[in-house]
Structures are given as C-alpha cells and as structure tokens.
C-alpha cells in the first residue's frame, strides 16, 4: 500500500455521528475473506515508513492531532519499546524451546498495536490484558521477567496488578472485558477522570462475555476502551469463522463508536487510542478500537500454523512489519542513525541475557504454597488439609 492509494485507505468509523449511508456498509466478509481483503483503516505511517499527508487524507484528520506533539525523541522511544519487546519475546520463545518455559504466547508482529496503545495510557489508567500483552506490560513498567512465571509454571501471575495498574493475564477468553467494564463503572462512580482499557483478540470477540461488556459499558456510559488486536487468527480459525461484518462496526449496534486502525502503525495506534481514551475521560463512554494486525508466529509454542496457514499470507504481512516501518521512517528523516540502532542492539542483547538468567534461576514455589491464599480469611478445611499434607511430607524425611 502506498501513500497515493488514499481511496483504499479511508478510515472507517462507525458511531452516532456517522452518516447512515456509511454505516450501511455491506458485510463484505460474507463473500470475501476478511484477512485477504485490503481493509480500510486509520494509518499515519505507511509500510514504507512515509508519514501520511493529513491535508491529502481528511479522514485521518480527526486522529492526527493526537500525535501532533510527538517528537523525534518520542519516535525513537517507541522504536526502542518495540525492539526491546520483540527481543524479550524472541528470548522467551527460545527459552520455551530449551524447556525452560512450559509454553509461550508470542506477540511477534503485534508490537505496534501494543506499544502504540500502551504509550497512550496515563499512569492512573487501568489495563486489563489477555495473555499476549507483553508489549503493553512493558509500557506499564512491569519487569518483563515477571511475565514468565506463569509460563514457566511457578505462579499464576507474577506481579502485583495494583503497582502498575496492569491486571493479571486472563486466559479464559473475553472474561476480562467485563472486569474492565465493571472497573470503569467504578471509576465513573468515583468521579475520577482516568480510563480503562481492555485487550482481547478477534476470536474472543465471539464470546458472549464480550457482547455483554459492550452492552454494559454502553448502558452505563463507562470510560472504557475495548482494544481488539485483530491478528487475523484464533489458533487455526480465520476471522471469517468469527464474524461476518468487520469487527469495528459491531460497536455501532451497541451505541458507541468503533474505529479500525492499522495495527502495524505505532503512530496511528497511539493517535486512535489517545482519541478513545480522551472520549472516555470526557464522559463520552466506551469506544471499540480494532487494531488490524497479524500474528507472525504460531498461536503459542504448542501450535503448528503450517497445518492451516499459507506461507504467502505470512510473507505479505512481513512487508508490513511494524518495526521495519518505523526504522525506515527514522532513517529517511534523519531521526536516528546507524549508531543508534547498534546501541539498541547491545541494549536488547543485554535484556535477552538478563531474561535468560532470571528464568534459569527462577525458584520453584514452595510445596506448601498449594494451600496459600486460597481464602483471604482462612478456611478450616484448607487448614486441615495443609496439616495433613505437611505430616505426610514429614513422614518421608528421615525415612529412606
């Protein structure tokens, strides 16, 4: 896609202010494969790394001002975020292959969606992630090594959600969208001006919980942003197995706006998320952001995408790599030089090394941890079983 093909890149937005004709867009997905169609989305940086000319693209005009303050320094910062996140993710994948982690859900390809949206957040905003939001965690200041405990099998979380306003990963698909909505209802009741963001996947959008979250948030006008990373696949199922109308359009039926953004464009993700967060803060209620992106790797390390996915598809998306795109832009504009990229290489290597070391020396949990934190107030049955278990373990000591 080039800058000239503006017609194909018109941003699409459903919502109350949208003219009826535009809203009545026919469900193209019923005939065409959604993930093959060239989507219409908000884009500020082309795959070649060229800034989209706002004057020539009036449809992005609404969002462009939300990144007007972004400096070259900021851009380098986003670049660093994406590189570090990818390095961490790659290290975790390698560690899984070496048997150090039981499983890993890679975010490869989704860095821009996560860093763009993550960097749009304020400290007092609250994040409800699914299980793949390693880049958002990075933006929240969660030490990446803390994300590995659950995948190594030493805990079910690994961080205190209240420290960084970053909730624990949620594995049951879509559940957290309701938690986010409830949290946002609380924020509104408190009269606070912070916002809440819920991450989920295109597959998750099929769950009843997600529809209920949409409806509750609309009915209560809650300050929540639903950030769907449409990475085209839910394990082996393509998006046409989940929906027949473009995802972002679904918001309209619930009474709030939906926007499709180029999920491989960090700037556009930042702009659209800021826009949605500000709506929330102003008391204008929920927004659905569909970040149109791609899962470059397997669903998790247990998955084999060659069973269901074409190589050509993956190759086509490689050309839209979010990191290469920003690098091209930085190089072309003189925003960064080779020395910068080399130094970043060193930095990311150091991160990889640290992650390796931490994982390899991560202690197994104490056996008695099975009985810890089952209840806040304690429970007689747990106490009894704990004591029996301790006695059982003790019976081995000094035995053989």
């Amino acid at each position: 896609m080039t800058v000239e093909s503006t017609a194909a890149r018109k941003p699409r937005r459903s919502g109350t202010k949208r003219p009826a004709a535009a809203n009545a867009a026919k469900p193209a997905a019923a005939t065409a494969k959604t993930h093959d169609a060239e989507p219409q989305l908000v884009q500020l940086l082309t795959p070649e790394g060229v800034r989209v000319d706002v004057a020539e693209n009036p449809d992005v005009a609404e969002f462009a001002p939300f990144v007007a303050d972004i400096t070259t320094d900021d851009l380098r910062g986003f670049y660093r975020d994406m590189v570090m996140t990818r390095r961490f993710d790659g290290e975790a994948t390698a560690l899984q292959r070496q048997g150090e982690l039981g499983l890993w859900a890679s975010l490869l390809g989704q860095e821009a969606a996560q860093i763009g949206s993550g960097r749009a957040l304020r400290d007092d905003d609250y994040v409800f992630p699914t299980y793949r939001e390693h880049g958002v965690a990075w933006c929240r200041g969660v030490d990446p090594t803390n994300l590995l405990g659950m995948f190594r099998g030493v805990n079910h979380g690994g961080w205190d959600p209240t420290t960084n306003n970053f909730h624990l990963y949620t594995i049951v698909i879509g559940s957290q969208t309701l938690h986010a909505t409830g949290y946002a209802m609380g924020v509104a009741k408190d009269g606070a001006d912070s916002a809440v963001i819920a991450y989920f996947g295109d597959g998750a959008s099929s769950q009843g919980d997600v529809m209920e979250a949409f409806n509750f948030s609309a009915v209560y006008n809650s300050p929540v942003v639903f950030f769907c990373q449409n990475n085209q696949w839910a394990i082996s199922e393509p998006t046409e197995r989940q929906m027949r109308v473009p995802l972002y359009q679904r918001a309209q039926g619930f009474g709030f706006p939906g926007v499709r953004v180029d999920g491989n464009d960090v700037l556009a993700c930042l702009a659209v998320t800021r826009w949605a967060l500000e709506r929330a803060r102003r008391g204008e209620g929920p927004t659905l952001v569909e970040a149109f992106t791609y899962r470059m790797g397997a669903h998790t390390t247990s998955d084999d995408p060659t069973k269901y996915r074409r190589d050509e598809e993956t190759a086509a998306w490689e050309a839209k790599d979010p990191i290469l795109r920003l690098k091209a832009h930085l190089l072309a504009t003189g925003g960064a030089d080779e020395a910068y990229f080399e130094q970043l290489e060193v930095e990311s290597e150091a991160l990889g090394k640290r992650v390796r070391e931490v994982v390899r020396t991560m202690p197994d949990p104490d056996t008695m941890a099975i009985f810890e934190n089952v209840y806040a107030d304690g429970h007689a049955l747990v106490d009894e079983e704990r004591a029996q278990f301790a006695a059982y373990l003790a019976s081995f000591e000094g035995g053989e």
Partner: protein, 326 residues
C-alpha cells in the same frame, strides 16, 4: 486385523470416524476441530474426509457451541462437541445445566438430547491455569447428564461410540495426559456396557477404585504393593454418572477395604458419594473406613507444583497402608 495397538488419541479419532460413517446425522463441532484437527488432533483428518458441513469449526464461544448443538439435536442431528480444555467449559455450563440436562424431563420424555460433550480434562501435562481441571463432579451432580471417562484405548474407542449412540447427553471426559498411551483395541469385540465398571486388576486385600487418568496410577500402585506382598484389586469405574455401585460392592465384599482415588478435590468429590454408598451397602463387610485420595481444597496449582498436588504412587500406597492398618 481386528486387534490393533492404538494410542488413546488415535482410538478416539477412529471412533469418531466410525460413528460418522455409520450415521450421517453425527456432526462434530468445536474450536479448531477442522483443518487443525483439534489442539490434541483428536479430530485429525475428519474434516478432510467428511467436509465442513459435518466437521464444523465454530466461533470461539462455548455457550454458543453447546446452545446450537442443542438446537441441532432438536432437529435430529447427533452433535459431538469438543470443548478445547476443561477450564473452558464454564461459559457453556449454563446451557449444559439449565437446558441440555433438563430438556428430556421438561418435554415429558418426548425430546431426546443425543449430544456428546468431549472434554480433555485433568492435569499432568505442565499446562498453564484452566488447562488441568477435574470438574467431573460438577456434571455428575446434575440430574439428566451422564458422565463417563475412559482410561485406556479400547474404552476410548468403544465408549465414545456408545456415548454417541446414547439418546442422553453424555459428558465425555478424556484424560489428556493419557492421550499418547497405547493399548490394544479389538474393533470387532462386543464392548462392555457404557456405564459398567471393570476390574482392571484382581486382588484380595484392598480395592482401589478410580477412573480416567488415575487408573494407571492405581495399577502401578498395585504393582508396587504386590512387591510388598499386598494384593490390591483395581476397579476402573469408567462412568461417574451413573456409578456402577454393584461392581464396586462386589469387589469390596471380597477385599473388605476400599480406597477411592481421583484428581478432583476430595471435598464433595466422587469419592465422597462412593464412600457413603459403599458404607451403606457393605457396612458389615468393611474392615476399614472407605478412604479417599484426591486433590485439595485449593485451586489447581502452577505446573511446577502439580506433581505434589496430584495423587501419585506414594499417596495411593500410603492410603493402602492406612486402610490395611485398621
């Protein structure tokens, strides 16, 4: 050849294929069951051979999967639904408990609900949370549902076909850590009744009753006990609803001692019901109280602790010793 050596996974796959060949009304539904063949490959190759109309990749929505399976059953189909992992059945729990289980009774017996819900369950594969649960009691407790679990390849092959033939909804729990265990399957045999128990090993001193993944552990425990001169009988329950109490009773009348073993929490688990019934039925035969070995009243722990959490040889043998000490 009638007798083949198959993994449990392959036996299930063959069983589904056979059921689909024999009845065009049999459908498979679930997440990733098509091209991928399911995350455990139990439906591998079936979509290729039976088409997308019969092997249906569904949207990622368990309530939707079970709810539409109910509708398809109302229309004369026999859906076999795959829930990807035990912990993900709960979005569908409402449909299963309030609708699927009660449809026959509500319609005064006119409506049949031949729906099978296959659930890979229980632990031991080092998974993250929600991938290792043993929720069988939650289903066995619900009137209107039948609940079974095979422990070996032959039962996997036969019980699944019997479940599909049943006009009642059957929750079919597959012991996922045993998927790759091999066993002999006689595809021309006359299978045991779906809800009967089976003596997996004969013995005289104490009975171990188990189902699904714990049968193997109990057989190993019996082996180890034999080296110490103890004769342990192992009864594979196979069905958790209904439970073959007659079968357990027969064994207990012989051995006079019973230990029930399962991965699910002991509190209000299958073992509790079996202990109560067998105590009623065999009060004068019992030399020891019925003992239970199982999970704790605690969430399933992170993978690195599951070996401590799951009943293993030592805990089963410890219970055998305690029973014999009375």
């Amino acid at each position: 050849m009638a007798v083949q050596k198959l993994t449990i996974a392959k036996a299930l796959n063959d069983s589904l294929r056979k059921a689909m060949e024999e009845d065009p009304k049999v459908l498979i539904m679930g997440e990733d069951v098509g091209k991928l063949g399911g995350v455990f490959r139990i439906t591998d190759g079936l979509q290729k051979d039976f088409g997308e109309e019969r092997v249906i990749d569904t949207p990622l929505a368990e309530s939707g999967i079970v709810g539409t399976a109910i509708g398809l059953a109302l229309r004369g189909y026999r859906p076999v639904v795959e829930i990807q992992f035990d912990g993900f059945v709960f979005p569908a729990y409402d449909q299963i408990v309030t609708q699927l289980a009660k449809m026959h009774a509500r319609s005064l017996g006119t409506i049949k609900m031949p729906v099978v819900i296959r659930i890979p369950y229980a632990g031991g594969i080092g998974a993250v949370e929600h991938h290792s649960e043993s929720p069988e009691t939650l289903f066995a407790h619900v009137p209107g549902l039948k609940v079974v679990s095979p422990s070996n390849a032959s039962d996997a092959y036969w019980m699944l076909q019997q479940a599909i033939l049943s006009d009642d909804p059957v929750i079919f729990f597959e012991p996922k850590r045993r998927y790759w265990d091999k066993g002999e399957v006689d595809v021309e045999a006359i299978p045991d009744a779906l809800h009967g128990s089976r003596v997996a090993r004969t013995g005289t001193d104490v009975t171990l009753a188990a189902y699904g993944p714990m049968v193997k552990v109990c057989l190993q425990a019996a082996e180890a006990a034999a080296e110490e001169g103890k004769s342990v009988e192992v009864v594979d329950l196979r069905s958790m609803s209904p439970v073959d109490f007659d079968g357990i009773q027969a064994s207990v009348e012989k051995t006079r001692r019973l230990v029930v073993v399962h991965e699910a929490p002991v509190f209000l688990g299958m073992g509790s019901e079996i202990a109560a019934r067998i105590t009623e039925r065999c009060f004068y035969h019992l030399e020891a109280p019925v003992l239970r070995v199982g999970g704790y009243h605690a969430p399933y722990p992170p993978a690195r602790l599951e070996d401590e959490y799951l009943p293993g040889l030592d805990r089963v043998l410890d219970a055998v010793d305690r029973s014999l000490a009375y």
